[in-house]
Amino acid sequence: MHIGDGLIPLSQAVIYWLIALAFIIKSLNWAGKEMDEMKVPMLAALAAGIFAIQAMNIPIPWGTSGHMVGAALAAIILGSPYAAVLLLTLVLVVQGFLFGDGGVTTMGANIVNMGVVGGFVGFYSYNALKNSIGMVSASFAAGWLSIFIAALVCAVEMYFAGTFPLVAGLMFMGLYHAVIGVVGEGLITAIAFKSIMLARPDIVSEKSMARVAA
């Protein structure tokens, strides 16, 4: 759902950039306070992996495709939605400036959708669900919900931009990303989360651990 240049008028693109900048500053504050010697390599490893997997589009019906965003995974592993904001910002800056994936004027909107919305929805839905359905299932649900809600927000922005009609935009953005969300986001998030838990449970943020019944 990388929005390219021309899809949002400059006057609106500036607003998304300002919102994005506010969250980027908060994410740098988070990094300054919370990043320790285990979170630094984890953030770097996740960022590299998420950049690469974003280049892997998975086919879905209707002649369409989609790829993982990775915000939920980053927020869960690193224990903060701001981790996802920081990571997705890095990924989107490299994608936009080097590879033309997502526009330059619209980069703020992309950071808001994938980093902020994806990260916050992923983080809070995971935390709401981890004690009742278990950590791995919760990571799946958080992954799915994060890309689905981000796609709906993107559709609303496209409506304000005069690019999509509201209902059709919401319906099709929602439909495509609901499908992409199952394998492309939910399943990969759950597999990556489970793998990291098996390999190094100590580096998963304590905040993301479920309460164990006594």
Binding site: M1, H2, I3, G4, D5, G6, L7, P9, A31, G32, M35, M38, V40, P41, M42, A44, A45, L46, A47, A48, G49, F51, A52, I53, A55, M56, N57, I58, P59, I60, W62, G63, T64, S65, G66, H67, L86, L87, L90, V91, V94, Q95, G96, L98, F99, G100, D101, G103, V104, T105, A151, M158, T163, F164, F172, M173, Y176, I180, R200, I203
Partner: protein, 105 residues
């Protein structure tokens, strides 16, 4: 040292994905592009591109547009994604180093 082990594990997985991506990735339009074709271009990708092209406020030419290096085909695509992957890795480690230094003082 586990610090390096995490980075190396992440980098190896990321590079394997980078090598596979150009061969395995679907070339179908993604969800947003599909909507652009249907809702903006009335089903015609060229028409959608033309309409959107006229609205671009600032022209920016990416050096490796569409994850490719001119004239290098699939190898260029693999190379482009690996360059991006390593760049993301280096930038995030750089931010980590700055943070650690600040925390140290």
């Amino acid at each position: 040292m586990s610090y390096n082990k995490i980075i190396i594990t992440g980098a190896v997985i990321a590079i394997i994905i980078s090598i596979l991506a150009p061969f395995l990735a679907s070339s179908n339009p993604d969800g947003l592009d599909k909507n652009l074709i249907e809702l903006v271009g009335s089903g015609n990708p060229e028409q959608a591109e033309e309409i959107i092209g006229e609205r671009v406020p600032i022209e920016y030419e990416a050096p490796m547009a569409d994850y490719s290096i001119e004239g290098m085909g699939k190898l260029g695509e693999v190379g482009a994604i690996i360059i991006g992957t390593l760049l993301v890795l280096v930038i995030s480690l750089g931010i980590g180093k700055i943070v650690e230094k600040k925390q140290g003082t």
